[in-house]
Symmetry: C2
Subunit: 472 residues, 2 copies
């Protein structure tokens, strides 16, 4: 995507210069303007070109975030919240310059309430750091996007991952959060009760708002008990269609599958090559069950029977932790394995999510188009949710390849929308998908604009993301 | 609660008179101004006095709702969305007059997508009607507030019921909805995909907005497979504390309990008297498990062992449908059984919800206060969520009794808030709980006000509910 295609944000040079001076005074060494650090803070995991902020501040407390926001508000300077920078749609870019607020110095675990199965953490802690902290409690936080993202960033993009089919996404797992609003006030969106009918659902409004409504400072999360027993395995299928039928039946039978991931034939080929494995090079489902010893055995057997009905199998499963770890390591390496299919290339991630009844059709049409167009694009999917990623490998220095890849992504997004699906299941809109949000939700985007205008009238919160301030 | 204590809404007499004339012309017999119908549409299930709308319109289509809203917008006339009128906090009252939009003529099931486990229905269908419609599909819609409420109404108040601990509340079970916004535009908040990161979560913003942001016309709901097997039973405990400990342990062990309901000693006494039953008159848990034949047996046995650890039991459970039906009939009769404790009285419902670790403490303090004050108030609770209702019986014609009951409720609400809980787990704020929303969420209410002002700048959507337009 060329810079010119991204939403433009006018630069307020005078305000930025003043704010940078004040930040230097107020934050000292915790405010950095060196090129390398600014570059790193606008680095995106995709091919979207970097747009550097003018400075990066590293607050250590809620109050320091408030101070940073107030300085920016006073001088009408853009604020770009930053977690770990692993987002995929240019969320951390600074199209109008401004200040990146990096929460990586805020990793505190403020409370763990084991009896309530919840915890409150500062926004900068990563999901792996949180799970390391929880190690001795018998509890864990399940949401696992590919990257070791920060909890604040995951909240901002409404992230999920491989086990959303069982545990939900960030939407279901954030109980409450504290955000610094564009005027500098701190707002806690809800109490810690499991359910509430007390007014508008501000928690869910902030979850997935991609830094455009406030800076998330801390988050109260649901935790889950580490299952007594886990079983899992890999099952090959004769076709994507057969695999999707098996997924639908598994879910319809109420089998509480914890993970059910599809990798298509090309994806399996890349895994075998990358890690020297011997899996079948046909569409495979990677599945996992969580529960009691008896339960997970029963579930695995039921799944094996369903798979066989659709021509799948053999379903080889295990409850030995080491073997499972190997299997999921292979699944989690799929990004790197995919990249290795065409060394030196960049990957363009796609993220459509459709009703599960349309999933096979959507993947089939996409595979056909990949074959027709000559693109190299393995597919992995969180198919229990109807969500899949085609990873388009391209030479990011070749405008023709970029154009072809972008045309492919556009058609894929529109295909998903036509099938009552969404252009983004878990990555967010950011800069890359703005045109598709309009196509997907129409007048709903005007409601979002009204909300944005009401909460951030100066337009300083992560401008140039999600939608433009005027329709069209 | 005296009328004078409710939020005041100024009447726009001229606008209302004009609008009534236009409604007559446009809607003919589907617009009613007779006193009895207006009275029925402001009837609340509580003691909050009625405030009648000036007319009631019965739209049959989305377009008719849009017309009704446009007429009201043009003449600045309040709109009060109406489902079945079973809400508990005065939600359907018309403090500034205006037009009640009754969706009871809109009961269509627009689609059932069995493979996707979802359906789309018009707002006026009730939960029992929906489940009757689904009878042959093997699917059901689990959310079950006490009343046979409409899906639109349940969406508006973010309702739940006895099995939220397993299936979630309306927050988790509404996938998307179509609402007529205050300017008459219809907005569909999301596509039908199971998860999405596409922009602000308008679905969750509308869920629980109590008719103050738009009129809900249709709703896409998650459905669930009817479980293969169900087991359930009743288990007495020596104390509320012991019962709550058992609940915490059950949930912490990851036992996927479908229902876990507490009835306190007075509540059990009322049930026995009302239905001539022979239950122990000590705090009891009513529990139910959904799953496979083997699974529900295992779960019931594990629960029995946990109960015994805390001095509870005997836990008598069954998987015979008729016996279970009897048990849950008794539970569902608890409202009427409670009323029968003091014939001729009205009940004031409370609805606090606290983190489960504070539940025993919260119920104990509440029981102590009931004992001290001489009130009669049995307690039933959806204790898996930390939510309970104390049902205060009072002579609604005796100002002293009302005052005592209201003081009790105020202290209960503040107790829950102090324990990091909420004043309302599932009933909503309506008119009755407005002062407590401020105490609970502070500056968050200002964010709600900003959103309300942005979406409904004329203030015509259900005015005088949830919060006032200015702080304080």
């Amino acid at each position: 995507m060329a810079l010119a295609q991204l939403a433009q944000v006018e630069r307020n040079d005078a305000g930025i210069a003043e704010a940078v001076g004040i930040f230097r005074q107020r934050f000292g060494d915790a405010f950095v303007t060196g090129h390398a650090v600014r570059e790193q803070h606008s680095h995106t995991t995709t091919y979207i070109p970097s747009q550097l902020p003018d400075g990066v501040v590293f607050p250590k407390t809620l109050e320091e975030i408030q101070d940073a926001v107030r300085i920016c508000a006073e001088h009408r300077v853009p604020i770009i919240p930053f977690g770990t920078g692993t987002s995929l749609e240019g969320h951390v870019n600074a199209p109008g310059g401004g200040i990146s607020i990096d929460t990586s110095q805020m990793k505190g675990v403020l409370s763990v309430n084991a009896e309530d199965l919840d915890c409150t953490v500062e926004a900068g802690i990563t999901r792996e750091e949180l799970n390391a902290h929880l190690r001795d409690t018998g509890l864990f936080f399940p949401i696992d996007p590919g990257a070791n993202a920060s909890i604040g960033g995951m909240t901002s993009t409404r992230a999920s991952g491989t086990n959303a089919v069982r545990y939900g996404t960030m939407r279901e797992n954030v109980l409450s959060l504290t955000a610094v609003m564009p005027d500098g006030r701190a707002v806690t969106t809800a109490k810690r009760a499991r359910k509430s009918s007390a007014g508008y659902d501000l928690t869910r409004l902030l979850v997935g708002s991609e830094g455009t409504l406030g800076v998330i400072a801390s988050v109260t999360l649901k935790l889950h008990g580490i299952p007594q027993a886990i079983s899992g395995g890999v099952c090959p299928f004769p076709s994507v269609d057969a695999a999707c039928r098996a997924v639908i039946m598994t879910i319809q039978m109420g089998i509480p599958v914890a993970r059910i991931e599809l990798i298509n034939a090309l994806g399996m080929k890349s895994l075998n090559a990358y890690s020297n494995l011997g899996y079948a090079e046909s569409p495979c489902l990677f599945v996992e069950f969580h529960g009691t010893e008896a339960g997970v055995g029963e579930q695995a057997e039921m799944f094996g029977e369903i798979a066989a009905e659709y021509g799948g199998g053999p379903f080889l499963w295990t409850n030995v932790a080491e073997e499972r770890a190997k299997l999921w390591k292979a699944r989690h390496d799929s990004y790197w394995a995919g990249l290795a299919l065409r060394p030196g290339c960049k990957a363009l991630a796609t993220d459509v999510c459709v009703p599960i009844s349309r999933l096979a059709e959507c993947i089939n049409e996409t595979e056909e188009e990949i074959a027709r167009s000559g693109l190299i694009a393995p597919i992995v999917g969180h198919v229990g949710d109807g969500n899949f990623h085609a990873m388009v490998l391209m030479d990011a220095d070749d405008p023709k390849e970029i154009e072809a890849a972008e045309a492919f992504v556009a058609r894929l997004n529109m295909r998903a929308i036509a099938m009552e699906g969404t252009c983004t299941g878990e990555h967010g809109i950011g800069q890359g998908k703005m045109p598709f949000l309009e196509r997907e939700l129409g007048a709903g985007v005007d409601v979002m604009r009204a909300i944005k205008q009401a909460i951030d009238p100066l337009g300083i919160m992560n401008p140039g993301k999600v939608f433009t301030s005027t329709s069209g």
